[in-house]
Amino acid sequence: MCVAMPGRVLTVENGIARVEFDGNIIEARADLTRVAPGDRVLVHAGLIIQKLSATEAEEMDAIFADLREIMEKPDEDR
């Protein structure tokens, strides 16, 4: 039920955004986030719950950078 999908905002009018997901377009409420056309957003059950701050590729880079740091720390428990 907590499924949320990333999409891209096409338009915003009167608090309602039109959001595209791989060619499909749905309407989502934008009451809780400041969004503009072109923004990548996370939509849950018809509500934008967050504006995404990075692309998937950028997120992967951040994840692996964090992991490198974790792996370089001494492993005290093993």
């Binding site: 039920m1 009451d31 809780l32 059950a45 509500l47 719950i49 701050s53 990075a54 994840i63 974790i70």
Partner: protein
Amino acid sequence: MKTADLIAILSAYNGRLLTFMEVCGTHTAAISECGIPSLLPPTIRLISGPGCPVCVTVSAYIDRLIELATTENTCVVSFGDLLRVKGSRGDLRSAVGARVEMIYTPFKALELAESDPDTTFVFAAVGFETTAPIYALLAEQIIARGIKNLKLLTALKTMPAVIRTLCAGENAIDGFIAPGHVATVTGSALFGKLARETGKPFAVAGFTAPSLLAAILALTRSAGKASLFNFYPSAVTEEGNAEALTRVDRYFEPCTASWRGLGAIPHSGLRLRDEFAHLDAGSHGLTEDHIPAGCHCGEVIAGRSRPCDCPMFGKDCTPESPFGACMVSMEGACYHHFINDKH
């Protein structure tokens, strides 16, 4: 480092047995669909916890929905998953004379109510912190538009108290894959606080294989230590969505909630504040939980049993003919174990 390196490092782990719990139905689905358990060594065990809102809903709530749906001039509006969950006397889908509308977004209920003023519509408001802001906005819209024939039957749950309960129980949980979309709303700081309180590591994860594997590796490296990681940084900030939290706080207050398999847990739910009680369709006191004889859903939700430990699993209980809620829901542990792991 690449995903293949992550898998290689995890595969080589040969330390003590570690058990990590995910508490998000969408994680349950993603972990299963990505085949992540098959990539892990026998020394790393993943278990599903109470993260599927449909699965944790007690039978008294379903019974109340059926009662409302079969009342004259009343219609229950719900997400699809809830329709096949059994109460003590059957489910909403097969209840004789029940009037039910299935929707994708709760906001659709506003249009339904406005277009049919002679019917009272009741929204089945289940969910966790991710969905609570939607119900707050729904309440706001009901009031703003002057709609008198739309109410909420709430069974809203929140994560912190149930996680504390799980940590205080008999389960040997070495760390938590923290729910990505709950954290999108609440912020990661909430799970940092839980890490400090419980002395366990928490890794917020997204819903891709690399993000989930990164979370598992970080938990493996940090087992036994209070730590917080965020592997869903594009959506999850430390503070979360402040506007969403403000709206939820305006309309709801913490309450004791009843969880299938775990019983009543203080401060683990949300109910409409007294000033908005006129929007409530009778949510109080729905605590009884009738679990059919032989069904292990309660044990599975609490992380005490695996789906395949249930004697009904795959025999009397399948996705086509589900007996327990964990087999009904597309976020249920049994459903995914059946679809992706067992068969």
